[in-house]
């Protein structure tokens, strides 16, 4: 994957961006989590082999944090878009 399309700036060299990891919604009420759920949130990851929804930051460009859908085996990017609240609805 050499090009990533920033929702503001369009296709740019991937070197301009910083990878922000798989989308991983914050817990709704962190103060009320059990230790086990908190550690699950902090450390455990899906590490999907396939299409993954993930964060990117246009570091050397407009400064936008946005979302991408990328196949982690082929690195093919099928979509990039601005964040909406529904993208990070807490599951715990």
């Amino acid at each position: 994957m050499l090009l990533l399309s920033c929702p503001n700036c369009g296709p740019r060299n991937v070197a301009e961006f910083r990878f922000g990891g798989e989308v991983h919604p914050r817990p709704a009420q962190p103060a009320h989590l059990s230790d086990a759920s908190w550690s699950d949130y902090l450390y455990m990851r899906a590490n999907t082999l396939g299409v993954q929804k993930e964060w990117w930051y246009h570091r050397a460009g407009c400064g936008l944090w946005f979302l991408a859908e990328r196949h982690t085996q082929t690195n093919e990017v099928t979509a990039t878009y601005r964040w909406q609240p529904a993208d990070t609805t807490p599951s715990i």
Binding site: F19, D35, S39, Y43, R45, T72, N75
Partner: protein, 412 residues
């Protein structure tokens, strides 16, 4: 060895005997190990040798050593940052020192000395701390200054011309390099001789569960019952753990390395720079073997990139201006199962019968002997050996991490 080779060269009739046999796939094994890398093979070898557990199969989706074990830059050392880490890796260095005799195979272990450069005050402080932790564990490790660095490594630039001049180095004389394929083949051959079945081209596609425990694996060649299943698949660790419903704190990143054309031997030691994100050693063939930190984004793709070459070449020339005419001949990538604390995960999981030996990140080749030996002990005894306890999976729920980032993120 060389006489044997010569005899073989003159022998036109028979090819060299195969190092391990192709066996019938049985429908049940006491222990099934998923992943035919150095870790899976070492564990199989020690199960047979130390514990007489020989009803063991190693299942490998491709060929043996096709994962990180055949792609790494073979640095072996024990100068880590935590006492738990230093003790663990030091047992591995000692096992490597005995390995050629143990496996009756020339693994070409060369303990040529390992230098981790410090270019900032903060890095000098970290190196000083590492040296003290190392020495408390009886590991040969000390801080040295530019004049001694230059004596050990004449081509290096210790002047104040580079952007980040060299201030000091952590010097670890027992650190070395080895022939990784020989390690993999040696374990495979001796595991086979001990009665272990090695099944290449056998991909695990699912796990059989019964009453909440693992009772076997599904492969594209059929089902295989198992008393114990060990996940030793490194970069693919979460794909197997998913089948058992076990969550792991692992993200898979590619790590690249490259070699130059062969040059006359001139670089005796291994040089690592954490600040510049590069390291180099010279192979027995004369190639400069160079690597860096993991790729900037998570992926299962085994591809090289131009930005890696650009980065490594630029930084390497800051250390060694004389490398400029050397041409890069080959470039490759392997997958690294990165954990939050840069330490591995070994032992039991919440699912009975399902064990892990994963989280080897960019640093796991050096640990294959000790983890194989101690995981075999864990399987045979049903108890976690003291050396492995700090690396249990439950440390994350207990917030009891073993932070090795300062010693493992670039200098693998």
């Amino acid at each position: 060895m060389s006489l044997k080779l010569l005899k073989q060269a003159l022998n036109t009739a028979a090819p060299l005997p195969r190092m391990w046999r192709a066996r019938e796939l049985k429908d049940h094994y006491d222990v099934v190990i998923i992943g035919g890398g150095a870790h899976g093979l070492a564990c199989a070898y020690y199960l047979a040798k130390d514990h007489g557990i020989t009803d063991v199969a190693v299942l490998e989706k491709s060929y043996i050593g096709s994962g990180g074990s055949g792609r790494n830059t073979t640095i072996i050392r024990s100068n880590y940052l935590t006492p738990e880490g230093v003790r663990f890796y030091d047992e591995s260095v000692k096992l490597y020192e005995e390995m050629a005799a143990e496996l009756d195979f020339n693994v070409m272990f060369s303990q040529r000395g390992h230098l981790t450069l410090a270019h900032t005050d903060a890095a000098v402080r970290t190196m000083r701390r590492r040296a003290e932790v190392n020495r408390l564990q009886g590991v040969d490790s000390r801080l040295i200054w530019p004049d001694e660095i230059k004596r050990l490594c004449p081509p290096i630039d210790i002047s104040d011309h580079p952007r980040y001049p060299i201030q000091a180095a952590l010097y670890h004389p027992p650190g070395g390099v080895i022939r990784h394929d020989a390690v993999v083949w040696g374990y495979a051959a001796q595991a086979d001789a001990g009665g272990v079945h090695l099944h290449q081209q056998t991909r695990v596609t699912g796990l059989q569960m019964e009453g909440g425990r693992v009772v076997g694996v599904e492969t594209h060649r059929g089902r295989i019952g198992a008393g114990i299943v060990l996940n030793a698949t490194a970069g693919w660790a979460t794909t197997i753990a998913d089948m058992a419903g076990v969550r792991l704190p692992i993200t898979t990143f590619p790590l690249q390395a490259c070699v130059t054309e062969p040059l006359k031997p001139f670089l005796d030691v291994i040089i690592v720079s954490g600040s510049l994100h590069v390291y180099v050693s010279q192979s027995d063939r004369g190639e400069l073997v160079m690597g860096a930190a993991v790729d900037p984004f998570a992926s299962y793709a085994l591809r090289g990139s131009l930005s890696f070459i650009e980065g490594i070449a630029g930084h390497m020339l800051e250390l060694f201006p004389s490398f400029a005419p050397a041409r890069i001949m080959r470039l490759w990538a392997g997958l690294c199962d990165m954990t939050p604390d840069y330490s591995p995960i070994m032992g039991f999981t919440p699912v009975e019968g399902f064990l892990v030996d994963v989280g080897w990140g960019t640093y796991g080749f050096k640990a294959a002997p000790v983890s194989g030996k101690r995981m075999a002990e864990l399987i045979a005894s049903g108890q976690t050996p003291d050396l492995l306890r700090p690396f249990r999976l439950s440390r994350f729920a207990e917030h009891d991490l073993v932070g090795e980032k300062g010693a493992a993120s670039v200098g693998h």
